[in-house]
């Protein structure tokens, strides 16, 4: 269900009742810095008003005395409206995923968005295990190889059972197949809708472990791990094609904001941008001779240390010790072992310039102080040499929401002809920094793992704002700085980094060979940089419009009549307002493409002066743009045909019917058995579907199969599963509307443990005999062909038997 936001309807009603156009009578200043500063001074008071308002709403929301709302953060928009995010608490403990958002205006009026408020919490007493025990469980699982410079932080929370994690998979380094990741798979079933839990926030940052920021949720009664969240948002990219290019993206930069240090040297430290210190720098000590101090604000550019062979030294340094305040040589990076030298400084200049441009874009166009609106300073780390089997930092970039830092790889090109050049180009920098805009606070981000539509949304929003930053940066000298020009640059990301071949195409994302242009149920399983396709395309259509000529790059079969775009400036204002005031992630991964659509409609309907006359047109443009990417229905159009897999059963040990996690639509089924997939077609009298084996997510970006496309589709619509253990996928396509399809995925387990060629309850006997033996007894006893048998086999077996022959 998409979230519902306050609609234009009510606002119109108000105007009619008053018989006047109040907005026109007292035009709010478009953007007046002095007024904004004044409004911002009232933020603390407005946070208090929001809290009082929410506390008073408790009964109406179905909450009791034990519940409360605690303001967590706030920002004030240029119209003077303060948006306050409040956390829900129960007996003083944060309710995981429970929050409210309040809009407080200058007159003290408060409007509350309470979609994420959690009701029905019935907990008493205290957790059975201690916080320290929970911490030990998390650290034991994390198993850091190097030193943990930062101690884990533990917080007792109320955890909704519906957010229990699920199955994780990984690529087997030997066979290249995708296999079950037993260590990171969650097999816990809290015994109540809400349980006491400990949130353990861990962080490792060293040469042995690389950078990991894993948040664990530990059941307060059983000590079981309920969920693991990865807070690092990776810019994961496919292996690019060959090309050529220059290494110095920005060319000559006339003005570079640096600092003159007490010892007379200069550093890449921009004290003109950023009003609060960067949190990561707190791990470093002040340096008296130069006067560098971690408590001082200002954006900084650092580099990661390497030796002459290009191996990581595990060290990080501010670009420093420069006596001339002239930086870089504009050449591609080659000087391993001297990343802070003149050659390495070129990447630093790129990053410094790009961060300033991005920072100024949000300040000039939206009146925002930095990415988080609080002025928290950004630290960029360039020339990352890390090359791990599981993470290619060289050709990558990522945003770290806890640290408010962005890391950019040195690039492996041209040594690796398929690699990238330095990752510090403006559009990559702007992409990463936009993650700071869309993360609501330092310990929550839009969930960025595959398996969540929210992941695709986070990546698409970063791509969209990157496009806007680039467009704004290239405005004419005489153009106003508070608007985004209508210029149409190519809508793409990473052409320079990819030495001529973009990493992603926003206008027609499928041009990259991986992304999809339109939504389908199951798209969430794609890598978020490819599930982002429909959102990228919708936002492109919103700005630039869609063609009605089939075959053109900006034509969509989902909106054959085409549409007129609202232009860059208004599109950006709609999306900005949507993501800062309506689409505020709650850390659960629950937000969907439809939710973003609803948020953009709400934002369009609330655009301030001087845009309010276009509200109706703009909101319809949002509807049409999203419909063109198969998200929601077009303006005034009948409901679109949808193909949807329905949960086959419920109450399983392995929680497959989780509403939005990775394994929604996923079933556990037997190999070599005839099963009856269940799919529904809605909004169409013709509910017939065509079945096919496999689907869009059958291969990942490394061409590794993520699922088996096997078995036989029978004439009656049943599916005889293949004789192969692992994920298998099937696709159902509407016969009435072939644009509409859904991909369902099942984990196939070999139930026939006694090898009598029949799947029956007697096959539980070998599982019982082999359960938790410390060594291999009989491979066939493990339904997932693991070398031992444990509760995972028990769960898989019971769930698969039941899904195949449901109890009626």
């Amino acid at each position: 269900m998409p979230r519902q936001f306050p609609h234009l309807m009510s606002a119109l009603g108000l105007c009619l009742t008053l018989g006047a156009a109040p907005l026109a009578a007292t035009p709010a200043p478009r953007f007046d810095k002095a007024v904004l500063v004044q409004q911002q001074r009232q933020e603390a008071a407005r946070m208090g008003q929001a809290q009082i308002h929410l506390q008073a709403l408790r009964t109406q929301l179905g909450l009791g005395d034990k519940e409360a709302f605690v303001p967590r953060n706030a920002f004030t928009n240029p119209e003077g409206m303060t948006v306050v995010r409040l956390e829900q608490t129960f007996e003083g403990h944060r309710v995981w995923g429970g929050q409210a958002v309040a809009h407080v205006d200058g007159q003290g009026g408060v409007q509350a968005l309470t979609q994420s408020v959690r009701t029905g919490i019935a907990l008493s007493g205290a957790p059975l295990i201690t916080a320290d025990f929970a911490k030990a469980i998390a650290v034991a699982h994390l198993a850091p190889k190097g030193v943990m410079k930062v101690a884990p932080v533990v917080e007792q929370v109320v955890f909704p059972a519906e957010f229990v994690g699920g199955l994780a998979t990984q690529v087997d380094p030997v066979t290249g197949r995708r296999v079950l990741d037993r260590r990171n798979s969650i097999l816990a079933r809290p015994n109540a809708p809400y349980v006491w839990a400990y949130e353990v926030r861990t962080r490792v940052d060293n040469a042995q472990d690389g950078t990991k920021a894993l948040t664990y949720l530990i059941d307060g009664n059983t000590g079981k791990i309920l969920r693991i969240n990865d807070l690092i948002q990776h810019l994961d990219v496919p292996a690019p094609a060959q090309g050529s290019g220059k290494g110095f993206y920005q060319g000559s930069v006339a003005t570079l904001n640096t600092s003159l240090m007490l010892d007379g040297t200069y550093t890449l430290w921009d004290q003109t941008r950023g009003t609060q210190p960067n949190p990561y720098l707190a791990y470093f000590s002040a340096d008296a001779p130069t006067g560098w101090n971690p408590a001082l604000p200002g954006n900084q550019v650092w580099y990661k240390g390497s030796d002459t062979s290009g191996a990581s030294t595990g060290m990080e340094y501010l670009f420093q010790g420069n006596t001339t305040n002239v930086w870089g040589d504009g050449l591609p990076f080659t000087q391993w072992g001297d990343s802070g030298g003149t050659n390495g400084q070129s990447a630093g200049v790129d990053a410094a310039s790009a961060i300033s441009t991005t920072w100024d874009f949000y300040g000039s166009v939206f009146g925002r102080n930095g990415l988080d609106g609080q002025g928290t300073s950004v630290v960029a780390m360039v020339l990352d040499p890390t090359m791990q089997p599981w993470f290619n930092g060289l050709d990558n970039a990522h945003w770290d929401v806890q640290n408010h830092t962005a890391t950019f790889g040195a690039g492996s090109f041209p040594g690796n002809p398929k690699g990238f050049q330095s990752m510090a180009d403006l559009d990559v920098v702007a992409h990463e920094l936009a993650h700071g805009l869309t993360s609501p606070n330092p310990y929550q981000a839009l969930v960025a793992q595959p398996g969540y539509e929210e992941g695709g949304i986070a990546e698409a929003l970063s791509d969209f704002f990157s496009q806007m930053v680039k467009t704004w940066a290239l405005r004419d000298a005489t153009a106003p700085t508070d608007q985004i020009p209508a210029t149409t640059l190519p809508w793409e990301i990473g052409r320079n980094v990819g030495h001529g071949t973009p990493i992603r195409y926003l206008n027609k994302p499928s041009q990259d060979g991986w992304s999809y242009d339109a939504w389908f149920q199951g798209i969430r399983r794609l890598d978020p940089h490819h599930s982002s396709g429909p959102i990228n395309r919708a936002l492109y259509f919103l700005s630039q419009g869609a063609s009605s000529t089939p075959g053109t790059v900006n034509y969509s079969a989902c909106l054959p009549q085409g549409m007129k775009g609202v232009g860059n400036d208004i599109a950006a204002r709609i999306v900005y307002k949507a993501v800062t005031e309506y689409f505020i992630g709650d850390g659960t991964g629950a937000w969907t493409f439809e939710d973003l659509r609803a948020a953009c409609i709400a934002a369009a309907e609330h655009l301030p002066y001087p845009y309010e006359l276009g509200r109706v047109f703009d909101a319809d443009a949002v509807r049409n743009a999203f419909a063109a990417a198969n998200i929601g229905d077009g303006a005034g159009k009948p409901a679109t045909t949808r193909v949807l897999f329905t949960p086959w059963r419920d109450g399983d040990y392995i929680q497959i019917s989780h509403p939005f996690a990775d394994y929604s639509n996923r079933q556990v089924l037997p190999t070599n058995e005839t099963v009856m997939p269940r799919v529904t077609v809605i909004n169409n009298a013709n509910t017939a579907v065509t079945w096919s084996l496999g689907g869009p997510t059958t291969f990942d970006t490394n061409n590794t199969p993520t699922a088996i496309a096997g078995g036989v589709i029978n004439a009656d619509g049943s599916w005889t599963t293949p004789n192969q253990i692992g994920w298998a996928s099937i696709t159902a396509t509407s016969k009435a509307d072939p644009n509409q399809f859904a991909e369902g995925i099942a984990w196939l387990a070999n139930l026939d443990t006694d090898m009598d060629l029949e799947n029956d309850a007697l096959d539980m006997a070998p599982i019982a005999i082999s359960w938790y033996l410390s060594d291999t007894l009989n491979y066939s006893s493990s339904v997932i062909a693991a070398p031992w048998v444990d509760d995972l086999d028990v769960s898989f077996f019971v769930d698969a038997l039941r899904s195949t022959w449901p109890v009626k």
């Binding site: 469980i137 109450g651 029956d760 007894l777 077996f797 109890v807 009626k808």
Partner: protein, 232 residues
């Protein structure tokens, strides 16, 4: 193989034709049949493995206990039972066994220890409280052809084997009004396959090749006596 089956079916056809060729007399007048409204189960005789009626049975729902021979200790049992399509296998709701929404066609009578007897944290090795939702080897299904398959097994070898001469688990057979059975109609029941897990699973006494388990750790075939089921 193919030839044999062809000949066999021809033979059947010939017999059928012979019957059809003669004059087919009207059914002889018998006492008018009474529509049935319930089921009657008569326990089998003998002291081996058997399905015996439980006192909780009702006129329309026969609850059967699986009982084994005295003196035999086991760690679990399972069987496949085929019934005429004129009856339905019933289910049991047990709030302690997931999934709680629809239940299972088998009921745990509490004899077997189904859960982990000594739960420990997989990473630290420290004892932890038992997960109330600890997955257990209790499940069942009704497959095509009204074939019930059920099983109940102790997964933890540290739990002792249990005496079989007591109700080890229950199944249920329900009267189906839509089947239009008449009183005294017989409903065929037959055990197709049945196994139990023995007390002696063998010990770990060395490497894989010397495990006694390789010889002893197998389910054992058994015969289950089934009583007679009639409509009434």
């Amino acid at each position: 193989m193919r030839m044999l089956s062809y000949l066999f079916s021809t033979l059947v056809l010939a017999v059928a034709l012979a019957c059809g060729g003669g004059s087919n007399p009207a059914p002889t007048a018998t006492a008018p049949s009474t529509p049935a409204s319930g089921l009657t189960y008569t326990d089998p005789t003998g002291t081996g493995w058997r399905l015996v009626k439980d006192a909780s049975s009702t006129p329309t729902r026969v609850v059967l206990n699986l009982v084994g021979p005295a003196g035999l200790k086991t760690r679990g049992a399972g069987f496949n039972l085929k019934a005429d399509a004129t009856v339905r296998f019933g289910t049991f709701m047990d709030p302690s066994v997931p999934p709680i929404s629809t239940g299972w066609p088998i009921k745990d009578t509490g004899v077997f220890e189904l859960r982990n007897t000594d739960p420990r944290d997989p990473f630290t090795g420290d004892p932890v409280p038992l997960d109330p939702q600890d997955p257990i080897l209790l499940s069942g299904a009704v497959k095509k052809g009204n074939l019930l398959t059920v099983g109940i097994f102790q997964k933890d070898r540290r739990a002792t084997a249990k005496d079989s001469a007591q109700p080890l688990c229950q199944i249920a057979i329900e009267f189906d009004a839509s089947a239009k059975l008449n009183a005294k109609d017989t409903i065929a029941l037959s055990i197709v396959k049945a196994k139990y897990v023995p007390e002696d699973l063998g010990a770990f006494n060395g490497g894989v090749t010397t495990w006694e388990m390789l010889a002893k750790g197998h389910p054992v075939d058994m015969t289950i006596a089934v009583g007679s089921l009639h409509a009434n």
